[in-house]
Amino acid sequence: MANDHTTTRYRKLYARLLRLYPKPYRERFGESMEQTFNDLCRERAKAGEGLRGFVLWMFVETSSGIINENITFIIMQNTRRLIVWAIVAALILAIPVLMQFTNEVQWGEAVAYCVLLLVAGGAYELWQWLKTRSSAYRFAFGVGLAGALLLGWVNGAVGIIGSEDNPANLMYGAVFAVGLIGSLFSRLKPRGMARTLFAAALVQVLVPVIAFFIWPAQVSWGEAGVIGVFIINLIFAMLFVVSALLFRKAATKQPPAAAGLGGLTPASS
């Protein structure tokens, strides 16, 4: 009886160990491996042989297989990704080395280079992830991102309401805040992203309206005046609305399980 109890415990422990295999491998062989382990335990028990040393060997042998299969799985699935990040890491590590030979690069610049390299790596990851989405989702993401980047660039360079120094332009931060918070809360799922982009478009239109009430004299865009401010805001709002509509289209096409980061599958290399 006690022997049965010990065997059952070992079987449970072995089943837990098997969970450490990569998922595809586990789904393919997990059940068979458990059966084989049970067969071997039963055979030892029938022969009246001790289990402890045998089980220890099984666990060590299987652990070695787990390490090998995980390494193989990571390399097979992520060769391209590993290369990209190895290049990014090598370039980042090269910066302090180069600084030993030249005074041209200051620490502030070095940090900026590092950030740029990490952004490049992040852009690669983003592209790999977008490749797993539908074309509607990709277009939606592209239009939304382009709108946000253009808004930041135009607002930072010349300002939308008056000059770039006008504090009213800071209100456009609300558009970015809505986009960021909405994306995080929706976990990039298309339906949530559609709502987020609709909200961003609404905020985009509300900013000049509010500014018009608070700073009526300053709401002007070059020679186009007040009308120019509203037109340019409507153009940005349209971009966000187009993005939102595309996200909504993507939401109707995608199965719920794959809609969002939860459905992320590594890109095949």
Binding site: E61, S63, G65, T72, I75
Partner: protein, 148 residues
């Protein structure tokens, strides 16, 4: 195996296929090139499956019996090899069925394929040539395999 065109990624793919544990078998098998030796685990599994299809535990016991207890394979090695052999087309897995001798759970059975038989034949031929060479050089010990 020649590196096909495709730049740095092809080179990495080549390295990956050649040097990952057991993976070099895949690289070789993909081209039906049987000139390089099989790993001992793969050879013993092919030998065990050469007479009849077997489930995992059955393969283990047959390998142990064939090698007179000298080769003991754990589940980690066995199923890792089986996975690579299936991918290489050496063996195939069948639907689950009950082992009449064990008569309990349904199990997945593995069977050797034509490609697997070809690989086994090529490997045995290679062994034969090595033994012939050893005989010519009078290097062959008077003992049988596995020290008996």
């Amino acid at each position: 195996m020649a590196i096909q065109s495709g730049g740095v990624f092809s080179i990495f793919k080549y390295i990956r296929l050649q040097y990952i544990r057991g993976g070099y078998i895949l690289g070789r098998m993909a081209n039906n090139n049987f000139s390089a030796p099989l790993t001992p685990a793969v050879l013993h599994i092919l030998l065990a499956l050469s007479t009849q299809e077997r489930h995992g535990y059955g393969i283990m016991k047959q390998v142990e019996s064939d090698s007179q207890g000298k080769v003991k394979m754990g589940p980690g090695t066995l199923y890792g090899s089986l996975g690579r052999m299936i991918d290489a087309g050496f063996i195939r897995d069948s639907d689950k069925k009950v082992d009449p001798e064990m008569d309990d759970e349904r199990r997945v059975y593995y069977a050797i394929t034509a490609l697997g038989r070809k690989a086994l034949a090529a490997e045995l031929q290679r062994y034969d040539e090595v033994v012939a060479l050893a005989k010519r050089k009078t290097l062959l010990p008077t003992t049988h395999a596995y020290g008996k």
